[in-house]
């Protein structure tokens, strides 16, 4: 079945006013269509505008140019159809772990008891059930990150905007949560935008991987990950195609870093901005 575009991003750009009245171009000419239920990862060097892109998709920050449409409607602000998981967690410090995870459900009118039960079920999944009554300040970075993920999953947004959600986790917990996210995604077919620095993570999870360059942030290329699903980690690791994708992306990332070092002045036109059409 042909799936319609969930998110359509056209000629999207963002610049910031900085000291001295100058403007800093963070993103330029971003074209990207994301199908409903698609899992798309974004790879790119630090400062290339990955977070900024997610903020605009979330409707938290207005674009400077271009347009974003979600399910055919232009984005005018945040909404519960798009759930962010912020790089900085952004937990409500005055709420306990449970209070944080219940918050979105309560906000959407779910009764206290049901919200509590659903939140506890999620906390079991992220292995934090015994920390339900802790306050964020009493948690480690990795624990906060898991609460942040649970808080967003709790209110069940159709699209997840995840900004390095596994960045602060230890290797084991990361693997567990990757599998958990895959399961949730395969079951509910959410649309996911997933920012990461982990090439293997991106290949393991994604349908497509977007590689970005910096100064200004542009799409360098988009790689289709044509691996069968459901994906099992142990099988993939010994899969030739999986390994080739990882190597290809590692090379691309390497290139992007070299380009940046070689060109102190921003290039007027990106070399290979691949425009990817909806399939």
């Amino acid at each position: 079945m042909e799936k319609r575009a969930m998110i359509e991003i056209q000629r999207l750009g963002k610049s910031f006013r900085i000291a001295g009245g100058k403007r800093h171009v963070a993103l330029e000419g971003i074209d990207l269509n994301i199908r409903e239920g698609e899992f798309v990862s974004i790879l790119g060097p630090s400062g290339c505008g990955k977070s900024t892109l997610l903020y605009m998709l979330g409707g938290f920050v207005p674009p400077s140019s271009g347009s974003i449409q979600v399910q055919g409607r232009p984005v005018t602000g945040p909404g519960p159809d798009r759930g962010p998981v912020f790089q900085e967690f952004a937990l409500f410090p005055w709420k306990t772990v449970l209070g944080n995870v219940m918050y979105g459900l309560r906000q959407q009118g779910v009764g206290k008891r049901e919200a509590r039960e659903r939140a506890m079920a999620l906390l079991h999944k992220v292995n934090l059930a015994s920390y339900a009554d802790f306050y964020p300040k009493e948690l480690s970075g990795g624990m906060r990150q898991r609460v942040a993920i649970a808080r967003t999953l709790a209110y069940d947004p159709a699209t997840l905007l995840m900004d390095e959600p596994f960045g602060a986790l230890d290797a084991h917990t990361r693997t567990v949560l990757q599998n958990e996210l895959l399961q949730i995604w395969e079951r509910d077919r959410k649309t996911v935008m997933f920012v990461t620095h982990g090439v293997d993570e991106a290949v393991f999870l994604s349908d497509r991987v977007v590689v970005m360059t910096r100064s200004p942030g542009r799409i360098r290329t988009v790689v289709d990950i044509d691996l069968p699903r459901p994906r099992v980690r142990a099988e993939l690791l010994v899969d030739r195609r999986y390994q080739e994708y990882v190597v290809e992306l590692e090379r691309l990332i390497e290139d992007v870093h070299h380009e940046r070092d070689a060109e102190p002045a921003p290039a007027p036109v990106a070399k290979t901005t691949l425009k990817v059409a909806t399939r």
Partner: protein
């Protein structure tokens, strides 16, 4: 109990005792008319504290003070929070805030009295002004320093802007707002007394300055002791309340910058 623990527990009473002793010795040595000894002054305490009229006076002062504080909480906290989240509003109101902050509020008393008379209303208004400024200032900074992503998270859950101000900005800025309250409380006491000095009618300040007029110096000092004790008690009670309300807050790195006035 170790010596240190004993010192810690007895620290405050010990300081008071030392101060009283120094006061006693200095007053005896100087033997000035207007400087009674500690024992003479403290001997007046029962006379004041068991006198119905004095108590009523002090009670009336406190009632006005709390009315002023309550009014300031209702007006200055929402205004400060809104300023902190709205740069345009902040740009408009900031000059006003910087200009009004250093003006001694009690000095406005004669003007306020022209409009509102010598009664309670004028005094409450002046206390309100005195408390409002630190409250406005701290609420503004607390809200401005709040991480946008907290508000974004709530917005993504479907919370609208007015609700966010109450349910996200207010609790998020609460540690700083309460610092403003503490400064405001001290300010309220000061303005309370000075307003009563200017508009003599009733109140703790009136008691104090009447005693001064009649050269009842032990009474004057007894009143000062009562006011100091009141200030201490209010601050102590407020600190307990504050810690209860913001026990969840991360300790701030720049705590030293708070609480100036």
């Amino acid at each position: 109990m170790s010596a240190q623990a004993i010192l810690q527990r007895l620290g405050a009473p010990l300081t008071v005792l030392v101060l009283l002793t120094l006061w006693e010795l200095a007053a005896r040595a100087l033997a000035l008319d207007g400087f009674p000894t500690a024992t003479e002054s403290l001997a007046q305490l029962p006379a004041i504290l068991f006198d119905g009229q004095s108590l009523q006076s002090i009670g009336a002062s406190l009632a006005r003070m709390f009315a002023g504080i309550g009014l300031a909480l209702l007006v200055a906290v929402p205004a400060g929070l809104a300023m902190g989240r709205n740069p345009t509003l902040a740009r408009m109101l900031n000059p006003l805030l910087s200009a009004a902050y250093p003006v001694p509020k009690a000095a406005l008393m004669p003007m306020v009295m022209l409009w509102f008379g010598v009664g309670d209303l004028s005094k409450i208004l002046v206390i309100f002004l005195g408390v409002s400024l630190p409250l406005l200032y701290h609420s503004y900074h607390g809200a401005a320093r709040l991480d946008d992503k907290l508000l974004w998270s709530a917005a993504a859950m479907g919370m609208r802007a007015p609700a966010r101000l109450l349910r996200i900005t207010l609790p998020g800025a609460l540690p700083e707002v309460l610092l403003g309250c503490r400064v405001g409380l001290a300010m309220a006491l000061i303005v309370m007394i000075s307003s009563e000095m200017i508009a003599r009618q009733s109140g703790a300040g009136d008691l104090l300055f009447n005693a001064l007029d009649m050269a009842l110096y032990p009474d004057v000092y007894a009143m000062i002791v009562i006011l100091a004790a009141l200030g201490f008690a209010l601050d102590w009670a407020f600190e307990h309340l504050r810690l209860r309300l913001v026990h969840w807050a991360e300790p701030r790195q720049d705590a030293a910058s708070g609480g100036n006035s």
